[in-house]
């Protein structure tokens, strides 16, 4: 369906990434946000708390991030689209209920405006050190989806995509912005509401007596209902059967956990999203995401003037990772170069998928700034030799 016009601020704006992300959420139909203030993410909820009262939305500032993520997970079951917003330290606290959301198959969006870490780290400065945490941060086995925007415009566009993916796959979606994009102000074009496609919450048309909350009948995800509509359903963070009842058995664990993993793994090629440029026939392929993708394009231009055939793959959906594509490229390129603002996270995925066919060379940056393009260029030139 098309977006609810009440949430869409159509026009050409000059916005920072945080504000644009907030606008994206409102355009996507988000009407409940629970959050706890943390730099550099706070502007997202400041934007939302200023505009929500005019569109039937409710924002609550919770007592901490444990509560924020719990409130969002609960709120989703009312049919209302929900989001929370945080940065590294708060993201760590949210992990508990991100696991609950994954287990209950609760679609929601968690924005992490990444700053330098670990611990309190660099509150006002950029980092990309939470990429693996987004994927593996909560205990146990589960799959989810994560995206990384490279500009305020994408902070708007991809927040809508994040909400839509959450609905389709019934997973929490991590929106892995970085401080640089979050605090960068650029032109953001917000289209009219009838040009914005959103995936609404689709409810089961089964009668209450016939409905089982986790029955899939061969589909990847179960049908949804709302709390308060007479279904008297039960759900739990415990391993559960189709009825949503706890079952402590090897068989039920296999059935239920394997399904929530497979709904993403087996459909990864429908979910992955990346931009590609001159990859075929390239001697070196650079893989980057977020703000680093922009700096990387400068480095690629520099390397090309030195005669290196460079291809570029920009991750937009970072989880699930585009395994098949990286495998394919690995058999035709000499090397991958992976710049990121951490000491090696997504590079491990590239390396895993390349499986020894081509080396994956990390260009690390500890955080607090972005790479010097010349450093990435040098890595590309070296890799091409």
């Amino acid at each position: 369906m098309k977006a609810d016009p009440a949430g869409v601020l159509t026009g050409v704006h000059y916005l920072d990434g945080d504000f644009a992300c907030g606008e994206g959420a409102m355009a996507a139909g988000c009407r409940f946000v629970a959050g706890y203030p943390i730099t550099p993410s706070t502007e997202v909820v400041e934007r939302i708390s200023r505009r929500f009262p005019m569109m039937g939305g409710t924002f609550i500032q919770m007592e901490d991030e444990l509560a924020s993520m719990a409130a969002v997970t609960g709120g989703v079951w009312t049919g209302t689209k929900c989001m929370t917003v945080t940065s590294g330290p708060g993201f760590s606290l949210m992990m508990e209920n991100i696991g609950l959301a994954a287990m209950m198959e609760t679609p929601c969006v968690v924005v992490n405006v990444q700053r330098g870490g670990p611990s309190t780290g660099l509150p006002t400065m950029v980092g990309q050190g939470d990429m693996m945490q987004a994927r593996w941060g909560s205990h146990g086995d589960y799959e989810l989806i994560a995206l990384s925007p490279q500009s305020p415009q994408e902070a708007f566009d991809l927040t809508i995509v994040a909400f839509n993916l959450a609905e389709v796959w019934r997973v929490p979606v991590m929106f892995m912005m970085d401080e640089c994009v979050g605090h960068m102000t650029e032109k953001v074009v917000i289209p009219p509401s009838d040009e914005i496609d959103i995936v609404p919450r689709v409810l089961s048309d089964k009668a209450p007596g016939d409905y089982l909350p986790y029955e899939v009948n061969g589909r990847p995800v179960p049908e949804f209902v709302r709390v308060g509509d007479g279904y008297r359903f039960h759900t739990t963070g415990l391993t559960h059967d189709e009825r949503g009842y706890p079952v402590m058995s090897v068989e039920c664990q296999e059935d239920s956990v394997h399904r929530i993993i497979n709904k993403i793994r087996l459909n990864a090629n429908d979910i992955v999203r990346y931009d590609e440029e001159n990859v075929d026939g390239a001697d070196v392929v650079v893989v980057a995401y977020g703000i680093t993708a922009r700096v990387t394009r400068m480095a690629i231009d520099m390397a090309r003037t030195e005669g290196v055939k460079v291809g570029f793959l920009r991750l937009i959906v970072v989880w699930p990772f585009p395994e098949d594509r990286i495998r394919e490229i690995a058999s035709s390129t000499k090397a991958f170069v992976v710049p990121e603002i951490n000491y090696g996270q997504m590079v491990l995925e590239v390396e895993r998928c390349a499986a020894g066919k081509a080396p994956a060379i990390l260009v690390p940056h500890g955080g607090g700034g972005v790479h010097d393009p010349a450093v990435i260029c040098q890595a590309i030139v070296e890799a091409a030799k």
Binding site: T58, I60, E63, A71, G74, N97, R226, R232
Partner: protein, 296 residues
């Protein structure tokens, strides 16, 4: 609950329609007090004639945390300590619902203590029924924030030297608008109390003292669960409107039960709606009672 041999079971227990009978038998030990609290809750629901489709129950983790799983309502068994914020999300996402949090002392005031005090401060419209058995039962009898001083627990094997919470006082001082304490053997009074609370708005808190027959009783050599239920009942003095500062519970000491606070104050949503209507006038769009579901 065990049934004496050869006694014919009734066709259907009177509260069966309120329970998920397909989940019986439950996990609670014989003479555990939680079951009678569930019975009181179900009876209160029946007496209030609430539309049960609009009543939601949320539990955390622990023995009492299993209550949500047995009630024939929309029911959420969540994470340890997070029942209150989870319930807050439901209430704010669909304001017309009556949201009940049913959980234990360790869950709500140990790991969930921060959420408890803030929900009370905000006067979030939730009914919180807390079963206090003075110990972490499900994990094996460890010390709780409610364990009376000198009582033994598996992590205070030489006796507890900490001071426990006085829960009615904690709730009242944080802003709860309805505060009561009963034991699980005060069947009629507790039922009436829950019924009254279901008719009120705001952060409503009912503490129910119940025995942990398997752990607390055994670790402290207090006899059977039944002995302990009877002890609590017989050593509780009913004093409605008592000063909540005087409600501390000493080890195997007498304590005060009753209805202590029952006042009307605007809830979080009342305050939010009134404030935005005043400040923003016609520009304010209230979330519909049925929630913010956007559909075609």
């Amino acid at each position: 609950m065990s049934t004496p041999p050869n006694t014919p079971l009734p066709e259907e227990h009177p509260i069966a329609p309120y329970l998920r009978m397909d989940r019986m038998p439950h996990i609670w030990c014989p003479t555990c007090g939680i079951g009678t609290v569930v019975k009181c809750f179900a009876t209160a629901l029946e007496e209030t004639q609430l539309d049960l489709d609009k009543v939601t129950i949320v539990s955390g983790i622990g023995c009492t945390g299993r209550v949500a799983g047995y009630m024939n309502l929309d029911a959420f068994h969540t994470t340890h300590g997070r029942a209150i914020p989870f319930a807050t999300g439901i209430k704010l996402g669909r304001p017309e619902l009556e949201v009940v949090v049913f959980s234990g002392d360790g869950d709500l005031t140990g790991i969930g203590g921060n959420h408890f005090i803030h929900a009370a401060r905000r006067n979030m419209d939730l009914l919180v029924i807390l079963v206090n058995n003075f110990i972490y039962g499900m994990t094996g009898g460890q010390n709780a924030p409610t364990t009376p001083t000198t009582a033994r627990s598996s992590t205070m094997p030489f006796g507890n030297f900490e001071r426990p919470f006085n829960l009615p006082h904690l709730a009242a001082s944080c802003g709860a608008t309805f505060v009561s304490r009963w034991t699980c053997l005060h069947i009629r009074r507790l039922t009436k109390c829950i019924r009254t609370a279901l008719g009120r708005k705001g952060f409503r808190f009912i503490e129910v003292i119940a025995p942990c027959s398997t752990l607390y009783s055994r670790l402290n050599r207090l006899g059977s669960g039944l002995d302990l239920i009877k002890f609590y009942h017989d050593n509780s003095e009913i004093r409605h409107g008592a000063d909540t500062r005087e409600l501390e519970i000493g080890y195997q000491d007498s304590f005060v039960c009753g209805n202590f606070v029952d006042e009307e104050r605007p809830t979080f949503l009342d305050l939010m709606n009134a404030h935005y209507e005043e400040v923003l006038g016609d520009r304010y769009v209230r979330m519909p009672p049925e929630g913010g579901w956007i559909h075609e």
